[in-house]
């Protein structure tokens, strides 16, 4: 006869059982009670995700604020409703077109020139902006004193960028010289809507009234000038009709134009890239935190196995036991994510400050509650799913474990539930990545990229730990050996810690390597024996006097190249206009203005890759010219093709006689098209010189001399370019480092969680060692060595990858020589190792001085 208590109905479906367990009030009570004495530890485990959520929330909020700022400040990005620009003065047709538009149309002229500050005897290359009228119509044009902008219409005073004033320590009232004229500085320009501080650093501006442009004498023939006209439409709805007309008009009038919508799209694209990077860094930090959660929960659950077995003995169903821990992790995941969201809101206040120099718009700070809710939801869901990976095994805990602590279930079959959870995580990560990155391809790429980076780091960590374990010298002191072997203790979290700390190190390390590669590229370009000063805009009648001026300074002219501007007219009889009607051939290379040279020899770093170099020509038959191989490829022409150039009104038929390989990164006058001597000598032209100075003083002296005697000649100092590039890279890398910090901090939280979760194990080990005669000092030293190895392994793993990544980037992207920035890399290595040891030891306080008997007698 079957007893009533043994009667069991047919079991319901597993999901319904799980649901029933999750609705059982007792399970909630037990979940709460079971957290006693573990609560702080659990909170710490789940704080692993807090930083990731903080990063996501702050970035998403800033993203929303940015979008809003661009929307609100759209017009200030351009400063007008419509802007025209041309490399030459507007032709009659363009002037008539502009005149036909109803509204205000102030003109502007921009060009590069040397500025000279007599009081401080300083000079540098700047951008001159000759302005009139009320442009910019929209957005700020902040000056000191306020309202100084009116000086451009009412006086001959000029306005100078803040950065330039600071660089030369000049004051309002001081004078500056531009070309042939000297002006008084009437005010300082603090900010201009639509322009970021980083751009202003690269090319500082001096604003002059349009009325004084002529007297500077800087816009002569051959100067590189941009002519602009800005329109404020009386009727804004006109813009659509106008742009339709303009698309056709611009093709034939060497004109380009910009509208607010176009500018917003372009700025949006750039900001999107930045936003995506920030998102990516935040996403990586969150995933890292989730891996930390899974690892910590894995250890937590191992400590709870006996409790689960006892519950099972007392009649708890597998799903009830699982539900207890699901509830705990869900609550903790929610709390961790909420804490993260709060940190995110705080961080959001600082992000705009970090980004301010890189953005062309001013962003406000308002909490975007949708982003906060999304961050909490994503953080909670991911943390629960990652926690479920180790948790689902609870269902398989045998009650027999309560009888035998050494009981291990036979077989190590793959749990289908774990596979299901793993699959769900993968789908969710891919989904999130697609949402975060705003596109399927990019999203999948990023998710695979992160998976790849994690795998490579794990592989690197595995390789390094393997090598250390296998080849660690046996003869060293016991503390060292024990420190190393602690990395392999049962339930160790070495791999996850190396991964977590390694990722942050990797991000920071890659940054240093890339920055170093770029700076080396610029400095090598102007390195030993290479020119480091470029003088351009030399008029024909100035060539000899400038050469003398250079030689008087004890310097030599290294390169001397005449420059003739021209446009392509036809290729093999087909006119550019005809070529441009074919969509597949529409390219800038056909319509751009070419600045070509003529000479009878190849430069030392040019190599002939096809055809025959012809140094001189007499004008009979097509002129044999040389094309840069890159240009020939883009233009789809080769040796033997016939091209016609329009040299300022004179058509010259040419035949491509040779193709040259040109290193455009070298500081020398590089040209796409080189004519032979004997053809262009009489064409309107200007010249470019290069020379080499050996000190900043020598550079300054030369610049002063040139600017005084030849004010229209511009001088580029590669040393200044190097400093400027360094400055801009510093600003960009600060943002990247700021985000990498989230990964490093997450790594340190994971480390704290790992140390605390293995605290009891460490105490027992310490007690056993002390029972056998080890001193407190020895036990502490063992711990220091353990963290030292851990930190250095993590830092090494990340740095090895970052060096490899930097090497690949230098070859594939920057096409530059590769070298390792030894000092910064060593500093990162030391910093990460030191942080690991410090955090590890802080969390290990008390481990070495627990009374042995207390621990040995304790029942856990």
């Amino acid at each position: 006869m079957t007893s009533a208590w043994l009667f069991a109905p047919a079991p319901p479906a597993p999901y319904s059982l799980m649901l029933r367990s999750l609705l059982d009030p007792f399970v909630y009570r037990l979940a709460w009670r079971d957290t006693r004495s573990y609560r702080r530890r659990l909170i710490l485990f789940f704080s692993c995700i807090a930083l990731g959520v903080a990063a996501l929330v702050s970035i998403r909020s800033v993203g929303q604020n940015l979008e809003q700022a661009i929307h609100v400040q759209a017009k200030s990005l351009l400063g007008a409703d419509l802007s025209f620009r041309s490399r030459s003065p507007f032709d009659e047709a363009t002037d008539s077109l502009i005149a036909s538009i109803k509204g205000e149309v102030p003109h502007e002229v921009r060009f590069g020139s040397m500025v000279y500050f007599p009081r401080v005897d300083g000079t540098r290359l700047i951008e001159v902006r000759a302005m009139s009228g009320a442009y910019p119509f929209y957005g700020e044009f902040t000056t000191l004193p306020p309202g100084a902008r009116t000086l451009l219409s009412t006086s001959k005073d000029v306005l100078v960028d803040d950065a330039l004033m600071l660089q030369f320590d000049v004051q309002i009232g001081d004078s500056l010289r531009l070309g042939k004229s000297t002006f008084a500085i009437g005010g300082i320009v603090r900010a201009v809507a639509g322009e970021s501080a980083a751009v202003m650093d690269v090319s500082p501006r001096v604003y002059i009234p349009s009325s004084v442009l002529e007297q500077t004498g800087l816009t002569g023939k051959g100067s590189l000038v941009s002519y602009r006209a800005h329109v404020k439409l009386a009727d804004e709805t006109e813009i659509t009709r106008l742009t339709e007309t303009l698309d056709e008009f611009r093709e034939t009038h060497n004109l380009s134009y910009d509208t607010v919508r176009r500018r917003v799209r372009r700025v949006g694209r750039v900001i999107d890239q930045l936003y995506r990077y920030l998102n990516l860094a935040g996403f990586a930090a969150l995933l890292l935190g989730c891996v930390g959660v899974a690892s910590a929960v894995h250890v937590y659950i191992r400590q709870k196995l006996t409790t689960v077995a006892v519950l099972r003995c007392l009649g708890a169903r597998p799903n009830q036991a699982l539900a207890v821990y699901i509830i705990q992790t869900a609550v903790m995941g929610f709390l961790g994510s909420t804490a993260g969201a709060l940190i995110g809101i705080a961080v959001q206040q600082t992000l705009p400050l970090v980004l301010a120099d890189l953005l062309p718009v001013r962003i406000g700070v308002s909490t975007d509650w949708t982003s906060v809710a999304q961050g909490v939801a994503v953080g909670s869901t991911l943390s629960i799913l990652f926690a479920l990976l180790p948790l689902v095994r609870i269902r398989n805990v045998s009650p027999l474990l309560s009888l035998r602590s050494s009981y291990e279930p036979t077989g190590n079959r793959l749990d289908p539930a774990q596979v299901m959870v793993g699959g769900t995580i993968a789908v969710l990560i891919f989904g999130l990545s697609i949402v975060q990155m705003g596109g399927v391809r990019l999203g999948l790429g990023v998710a695979l990229g992160i998976a790849g980076a994690f795998s490579l780091l794990a592989l690197s960590a595995f390789g390094l730990t393997f090598v250390v374990r296998k080849y660690f010298p046996r003869g060293v002191a016991f503390e060292w050996k024990q420190g190393v072997s602690n990395l392999y203790r049962p339930n160790n979290q070495t791999q996850i810690l190396v991964l977590a700390l390694g990722l942050g190190t990797f991000l920071i390390g890659t940054l240093y390597v890339v920055q170093h590669v770029l700076l080396t590229q610029v400095s090598v370009a102007g390195g030993e024996g290479r020119p480091n000063i470029v003088l351009f805009d030399l008029q024909v009648d100035q060539v000899e006097s400038v050469r003398r001026a250079i030689e008087e300074e004890g310097l030599t002219v290294i390169h001397d190249a005449p420059v003739v501007t021209m446009k392509l007219a036809s290729i093999n009889g087909e006119t550019v206009e005809e070529i441009m009607t074919r969509k597949d051939r529409r390219s800038f290379v056909y319509t751009r203005e070419y600045r070509s040279t003529y000479r009878d020899h190849l430069f030392d770093l040019e190599t002939l890759v096809d055809g025959k170099w012809v140094g001189t020509a007499d004008g009979k038959g097509p002129t044999p010219i040389s094309f840069a191989a890159d240009l020939a490829e883009r233009m789809e022409v080769t040796v033997g093709d016939v091209v016609t150039f329009n040299v300022q009104g004179v058509p010259i038929d040419c035949e491509i006689a040779s193709l040259r390989d040109v290193d455009f990164q070298r500081i020398q006058p590089n040209f796409w098209v080189v004519f032979p001597a004997g053809i262009l000598e009489d064409a309107p032209q200007f010249a470019v010189f290069t020379t080499r100075v050996t000190s900043t003083e020598q550079s300054a002296a030369l610049q002063r001399k040139i600017v005084k005697s030849h004010p229209n000649v511009s001088v580029i100092d590669i040393g200044l370019v190097l400093r400027t590039v360094d400055n801009v890279l510093d600003k960009v890398s600060f943002v990247i480092r700021f985000m990498a910090l989230f990964s490093v901090l997450t790594g340190l939280v994971v480390l704290t969680a790992a140390v605390i979760s293995s605290r009891y194990q460490r105490i027992r080990e310490s007690v056993l060692l002390r029972t056998m005669g080890a001193s407190h000092k020895q036990v502490r030293r063992i711990l220091v060595f353990e963290y030292l190895f851990l930190g250095s392994l993590a830092a090494l793993s990340g740095l090895v990858l970052s060096i490899a990544g930097g090497w690949l980037l230098s070859i594939l992207v920057f096409d530059a020589g590769f070298s390792v920035p030894v000092l910064p890399i060593a500093a990162v290595f030391l910093l990460i190792t030191l942080l690991t040891v410090t955090v590890g030891m802080l969390n290990s306080r008390g481990i070495s001085n627990r009374p042995p008997l207390e621990v040995l007698r304790a029942e856990y």
Binding site: A8, D34, A309, R312, L314, G315, S402, G411
Partner: protein
């Protein structure tokens, strides 16, 4: 009540098979107190676990109250343990995060019963711990912890009580107190007791002694002085 028929348990250890119990058969009647004795590694604990449905057998049959355990799934086994079985462990196995009273309440709460605090308090009072309701396991001595475990084992009025070396972790004086308590409660509630033990003095207080050696049953002896009718076994 409990019938074990040609029970064999084999553990796989790598490529080797380790036979822990080999063709063991015996029967325990309702209300009987039975002890499983034998040296370490003889298979006592494994047999106890299999009889309680804590593990799956390799071959043979275990029937508890006419229900063949091998035919029940994990959830049905859980229900069985919750509704009719009690456990006392050598190392007490109290849940460290619960108070004494909460530990005792767990089996009833798992059934979905409410307001069981009073019942637990009464039972703790019966085992002499009425003043220790809110103490956590770490705040109790070994003997006190085992008394809480006994109270927890009896709270659901089990028909069968499985005890694994219940006095194994206790000193001699405390052992006597705990074993007396265990037998008293067992007799008062008419529970069938299956106990694995090294302690022959304790085993001699039961109605039947089953001796194991090397996984085989070598003796199944009913203690006649107890005047319990012993069922014949194979």
């Amino acid at each position: 009540m409990l019938s074990v028929d040609h029970l064999t348990k084999v553990y796989k250890s790598g490529s080797h098979d380790l036979t822990v119990l080999n063709d063991v058969s015996f029967t325990v009647l309702s209300g009987e107190a039975c002890s499983l004795v034998g040296p370490s590694g003889s298979g006592k604990t494994t047999l106890l676990g299999l009889c309680a449905g804590l593990d799956r057998l390799s071959s043979g049959e275990v029937t508890l109250e006419n229900v063949e355990l091998s035919k029940l799934n994990e959830d049905q086994l859980s229900d069985l343990r919750n509704q009719g079985v009690g456990f006392v462990f050598q190392s007490f196995q109290l849940i460290p995060t619960l108070t004494a009273q909460e530990n005792v309440m767990v089996p009833l709460e798992l059934r979905g019963e409410h307001s069981v605090g009073k019942q637990a308090a009464e039972l703790l009072d019966r085992v002499g711990l009425g003043d220790r309701l809110d103490h956590y396991p770490t705040q109790l001595s070994g003997g006190e912890q085992q008394r809480v475990a006994i109270a927890r084992a009896f709270i659901n009025q089990p028909r069968v009580l499985f005890a694994d070396e219940p006095t194994g972790n206790l000193d001699e004086d405390t052992s006597h107190t705990v074993s007396d308590l265990l037998f008293d409660l067992n007799r008062q509630s008419g529970t069938t007791l299956i106990m694995a033990t090294h302690n022959l003095e304790l085993a001699n207080q039961t109605d039947r002694i089953i001796s194991l050696r090397g996984g085989k049953l070598i003796e199944n002896r009913a203690l006649e002085s107890r005047e319990i009718k012993i069922a014949s076994n194979d």
